[in-house]
Symmetry: C2
Subunit: 321 residues, 2 copies
């Protein structure tokens, strides 16, 4: 395919935008057809893959994968990038995208290892494959939660779902005031909780990241673990902006409990490890909040309000599909 | 997103079509957010990623990655699959696609380890990340070809490029006769040369698979190795159908030398290993043909005809981008 002057071809695109990101020896400077990757001895690899089919959230793609690694207790090692670019891609977009990746690589201590670039007939599609490591057998699974475990979440829940509603115009943001920008940022720029990975790996029976919605993702854990849970809605940690919106529009609470994209960690921690889990989370600067308890009886999460009354949710999760 | 009766949602799609493919313990039955993968001790991993942005060639995607692994001397271990599906995907397409993957998994001894599924606004985009292994440090690179090395290719060259031209109607296929079906099949269903991987790993100084075109891919090897090469066009192995087309239309030869998608292996083998390389290739049933020699002087491939005259090619490779 002929290059045009303003828009470089594949090799030039790789050299200009992507090679600077590939500063790991395994990447061979992106000059080969594969990465030659030496796994750390005595470690299992944790492999995650996420597809993103919209340019507006391209910068989320790497963080979404890193969030998966964090929730599995893994240390990130590197990633592969697949880019299907529409015919009208611009060097400006590409430069901005690469700069975003470079910033995240520096922040999270990883490098681009390889990938592929093709033209797509439709819109942009991104694929990220992230590679992390845990000591052999140490990956924290969805399965493994046990009756009596305390259910923890990191950070605050629901900001991204409310940010998306503000962006879509389905929620009046007046009550959030200056917090509106915070909610939008939480939707567009999730912060993978890598600092919490070690505490999760050492202490959690089961964990996953909140990407489909709190109640839905808790449901995934319960199903995989063959247990049930009681979730105290009043204990779910909210940002000031979210709390203000709940006060002005009760539908905000439903979004908080069932909306996706928080990329916080949800973990089931045995009671005798709860104190040390909280202490280690505090030591790495990640707030964690206990929001419920695992029950022996298998089933969907029982969500109760501050007076112990059951809250029925019309839907429990946000389906990205 | 609501499910409709005929078209299952993401979880059901995974359960119905993809979980049967995930028969490796590392995949955790696709019930978790990541695969927990134990690398073989003493082995480096070889990681490849290819994006495919067209439903019509979806079944090629896995094989294209396996071809990369074979050319790097690696044994395939498993793969991750990313699917961005258009809104009008059909269960029939998905069932056919999964059946194709199942057949290839059985043929090549690998399993699906994980992945992601999203809806795409445009057409189908597929992303495959394949994982292979070589003994530590054993990956065969593009770089490493040395003056005097014999240049080998596996199988026959150009069939896929001619198959594509027949499909596009830019070449009269009359001369190929019944061979037309063979050429189309070569384009649509490449055969990764995994059987040759061990001989490549043991004996080749440098290797890659022919995916952009013979002359262009040889050029990649030369550039990475800092050498040049003489390529004897008359020695390039052709199928009977391709030979017939070259006889009836000289433009076919250009397509053969510069077209892509052969997924044969191109390797630079030192002369003192040439005989054993040929013998081991024969032992595993993969034809290999010596088509040229690596030269000390760096530069693009010098392509010569049967009388030693230089052949000038207007373009040397097919750019998938």
């Amino acid at each position: 395919m002929a290059e045009d002057a303003a828009r470089p071809g594949e090799f030039d695109l790789i050299a200009r935008y992507l090679r600077p990101l590939a500063d790991d020896p395994a990447a061979l400077n992106l000059t080969d057809d594969a990465a030659a990757f030496v796994p750390p001895p005595g470690q299992s690899l944790v492999l995650t893959k996420d597809m993103v089919a919209a340019g507006s959230i391209a910068r989320k793609a790497l963080r979404v994968n890193l969030s998966d690694l964090a929730a599995k207790g893994a240390r990130p090692l590197g990633y592969l990038l697949g880019l299907a670019l529409p015919a009208d891609w611009t060097p400006e977009w590409m430069a901005d995208f690469a700069a975003g990746l470079a910033g995240d690589q520096a922040a999270y201590g990883i490098a681009l290892l390889g990938g592929d670039t093709v033209k797509a007939a439709g819109g942009l599609t991104l694929s990220i494959t992230a590679i992390g490591a845990v000591p052999d057998g140490g990956m924290v699974r969805r399965a493994g939660a046990k009756a009596g475990d305390a259910i923890y979440v990191s950070g605050t829940i629901g900001d991204a779902a409310l940010g998306l509603r503000l962006r879509l115009g389905t929620l009046d943001g007046a009550a959030a005031g200056e917090g509106t920008a915070h909610l939008l940022d939480r939707y567009l720029h999730p912060q993978p909780r890598l600092a919490l990975a070690e505490a999760v790996r050492l202490h959690a029976h089961a964990a996953l990241d909140v990407s489909d919605g709190l109640v839905g993702d808790l449901g995934h854990m319960l199903k995989a673990s063959g247990v049930g849970a009681r979730l105290e809605a009043a204990l779910v940690p909210l940002s000031d902006a979210s709390r203000a919106l709940v006060g002005s529009d009760p539908s905000a609470l439903v979004s908080i409990l069932s909306g996706g994209d928080d990329y916080e960690i949800l973990a089931a921690v045995p009671l005798d490890r709860a104190a040390v889990f909280e202490a280690e989370a505090k030591a790495v600067g990640v707030p964690v909040t206990r929001i419920g308890t695992i029950l022996a009886e298998p089933g969907a999460p029982q969500v109760v309000d501050g007076e112990g009354r059951m809250i029925q949710l019309a839907r429990v999760s946000h389906d990205h599909f």
